[in-house]
C-alpha cells in the first residue's frame, strides 16, 4: 500500500457520487445553499439559520445529516491515513532489504516523523469517527434518507492529504472539526426545537468527541512546532485557508443569515481563544457581505430597475 493516497482514490461503494464543493453548495436541497439570496427583496436580510421553521427544513436537515455522514467517513479515512503515511519518531525504519521504507524514502531526514503518542491519538480518532459514521447512518435512516441520496465532496479528505502532519492537524482537527462543533451544535438545537430527542441526544455525544478532537489537534500543533515558528505559521495559515473555504457564502456565523451558528461555548471548551473565534466570525461575516453583493448584482442584471430602487 502506498503512502499518501490522493482524494480521488478514496474507495466508495456504488451508492456514492462525488461532486465539487461548489456544486454541493448549489444543490437546491442544501441547507448551506446561497441560491435564495438572489430571490430576496433587494437589501432585505433573510434568515438562513437552519431551524424547523425554514420552508426547506426537512430537505435541509436531511442533506446536512448526509453531509455529516460523508464528512465522518472522510475524517475516519484521514485519521487512518495519518497512522499509516508517516513513520514513528524513534522507531527503526529499515525494511527487510535494509533499504528505507517507502515513507522513509520520501522523508529521509525524519523531520516529518510523528511522535508515537500522536499516532495513538489518531488511532483513537479513527474509532471515534467510525462511531460517528455509525451514528450518522442511523440518524440519516431515522430522518428518512438513503445512503447516496445526496452527493459527496471530498474536500475534507483533501485537507488530510498534506505531506506535513502538522498541516493535517491544522486543516482537519482545528478547522474542520471546529466547523463540526458548529454544525453539531446547530443540529442539536434543531433536534431540540423540532422535538426530536433522538437527534439531540446523538448530536450531543458527537459534539463531546469533536471537542476532544479539536483540542487534540491544537495541542499537538503547538507541541510539534514548539521550536519551529515557521512551520507553525504555515500550519496556522493553512487553518485560516480551510476556515475561509468553509465560510463560503457566510455558512456559519453569529448572524441568523448563516445556516450554521458559531458555537462559542463549545469552541471555548475545545481551546479556541475569543480572538480566534472572532476571527472566524469576521471571515464568515465578510463572506456574507460578498453573498449579499452577489445577490444584488444578480438582481440588477435580471431587473435593472430594481437595482436602483433600493
Amino acid at each position: 500500500m502506498r503512502k499518501f493516497l490522493p482524494a480521488d482514490q478514496l474507495a466508495r461503494d456504488e451508492r456514492f457520487n462525488t461532486i465539487t464543493m461548489q456544486d454541493r453548495f448549489n444543490d437546491p436541497r442544501s441547507a448551506l445553499g446561497t441560491g435564495d439570496a438572489a430571490t430576496t427583496t433587494a437589501g432585505a436580510r433573510q434568515k438562513f439559520r437552519l431551524t424547523p421553521e425554514r420552508r426547506d427544513a426537512s430537505d435541509g436537515a436531511r442533506g446536512l445529516m448526509h453531509g455529516i455522514m460523508v464528512g465522518e467517513i472522510q475524517a475516519l479515512e484521514g485519521a487512518g491515513r495519518t497512522c499509516w503515511d508517516f513513520d514513528t519518531a524513534g522507531v527503526a525504519k529499515t525494511s527487510s532489504t535494509g533499504a528505507h521504507s517507502a515513507g522513509a524514502a520520501q522523508n529521509p531526514s525524519g523531520d516529518m516523523d510523528v511522535p508515537f503518542a500522536l499516532k495513538l491519538d489518531m488511532a483513537r480518532q479513527c474509532w471515534d469517527e467510525a462511531r460517528h459514521v455509525e451514528i450518522s447512518i442511523k440518524l440519516s435512516d431515522w430522518m428518512g434518507t438513503e445512503i447516496g441520496q445526496f452527493a459527496e465532496n471530498t474536500v475534507l479528505f483533501a485537507a488530510a492529504c498534506s505531506s506535513d502532519p502538522v498541516l493535517r492537524l491544522a486543516g482537519v482537527n482545528c478547522a474542520l472539526e471546529g466547523l463540526a462543533i458548529d454544525v453539531f451544535t446547530t443540529m442539536k438545537e434543531f433536534g431540540d426545537l423540532a422535538g426530536d430527542p433522538f437527534l439531540e441526544f446523538c448530536e450531543d455525544w458527537m459534539l463531546a468527541d469533536e471537542v476532544t478532537h479539536v483540542k487534540m489537534g491544537s495541542d499537538w500543533l503547538r507541541k510539534v512546532t514548539e521550536n519551529d515558528p515557521e512551520r507553525r505559521k504555515k500550519a496556522l495559515d493553512f487553518q485560516a485557508v480551510v476556515d475561509k473555504l468553509f465560510s463560503y457564502g457566510g455558512t456559519r456565523s453569529d448572524s441568523d443569515e448563516s445556516p450554521i451558528g458559531l458555537a462559542r461555548r463549545f469552541r471555548a471548551l475545545a481551546g479556541f481563544t475569543d480572538d480566534e473565534v472572532e476571527a472566524i466570525n469576521d471571515v464568515s461575516v465578510q463572506a456574507l457581505e460578498e453573498r449579499r453583493a452577489r445577490g444584488a448584482a444578480a438582481r440588477a442584471s435580471a431587473d435593472p430597475a430594481s437595482a436602483t430602487s433600493t
Binding site: 493516497l5 497512522c83 522507531v91 488511532a123 479528505f157
Partner: protein, 210 residues
C-alpha cells in the same frame, strides 16, 4: 468474628499462584518490545486501509480495530520501562528480518477489490499469531513476579478474540465463490509461509521450544 491477630496463611487456600515462570526480566522485555512493534504495524496498516476499502461496514470495523491495536501498543510501550528498558523505542523492533518481510507482504494489497486479501492477512494470519503468542505468555509467565504483564495480557486477549471473530465473519460474508475462497487461501499460504520463517510474533520460541 475470629481473632484478628490469629496467624493466617499469607496465601489463602484458594490462591494457587506459584512463583516460577518461563521468562526472566530480559526475556520479557524483549518479547514485550516485539509485541509493541507488531501491534504498531497492525494498527498503522488498519488505519491506512480504511480509505482503500469500498465496503462501508468493513471501513468502520477497520477504524474501530485500528484503535484497539494502538491501545495494545501503548500498554506494551508503558510496560517496557518497568522492565528496566528506559528507552522503549530501543526494544520496539521486529523479532527478525522475516517479521519485517511478513509486514511488507501483509500491507501490499491496496486496490479496492482486494478487501479479501487485506482481511485474510490480518484475521486469518496475523491476529491468530497474536492470540497464540499472548496465550503462551499468559500461561507461562510467573503468576506473582510478572502480574503486571498478566494484567495487560488479560486486557488485550479479549480484544484479539473479538476482532478475530469480526474479521472472520466479514470474510465469510465477502467470500461468495470458490475463486474468492482460493484467493483467500493463496494469500494466507503466502503470508503463513513467511510467518513460519519468522517463528511467530516474538521470533523462534514464540510458543516455546517443542
Amino acid at each position: 468474628m475470629a481473632d484478628p491477630y490469629r496467624a493466617r496463611a499469607p496465601f489463602a487456600p484458594w490462591d494457587r499462584r506459584t512463583l516460577p515462570g518461563l521468562f526472566d526480566v530480559e526475556d520479557t522485555a524483549r518479547r514485550v518490545g516485539n509485541y509493541k512493534w507488531a501491534e504498531m504495524k497492525l494498527f498503522e496498516a488498519l488505519g491506512g486501509w480504511v480509505a482503500t476499502v469500498p465496503e462501508l461496514d468493513v471501513k468502520m470495523r477497520l477504524g474501530t480495530h485500528c484503535y484497539k491495536h494502538a491501545w495494545h501498543a501503548e500498554l506494551w510501550h508503558k510496560r517496557l520501562p518497568e522492565l528496566r528498558e528506559m528507552n522503549p523505542d530501543r526494544l520496539a523492533v521486529p523479532a527478525n528480518d522475516a517479521m519485517v518481510r511478513f509486514v511488507e507482504a501483509l500491507t501490499e494489497p491496496e486496490a479496492p477489490d482486494q478487501t479479501i486479501e487485506k482481511l485474510t492477512g490480518v484475521y486469518r494470519v496475523f491476529i491468530p499469531r497474536f492470540i497464540a503468542a499472548y496465550t503462551y505468555h499468559l500461561n507461562g509467565t510467573s503468576e506473582i513476579t510478572d502480574a503486571p504483564t498478566i494484567r495487560s495480557l488479560k486486557l488485550i486477549l479479549p480484544d484479539e478474540f473479538d476482532d478475530w471473530r469480526d474479521g472472520e465473519m466479514m470474510l465469510q460474508s465477502l467470500i461468495e465463490t470458490p475463486e474468492e475462497a482460493a484467493r483467500a487461501s493463496a494469500h494466507q499460504l503466502r503470508l503463513e509461509s513467511i510467518m513460519i520463517e519468522a517463528g511467530g510474533i516474538a521470533g523462534p520460541g514464540t510458543l516455546g521450544s517443542q
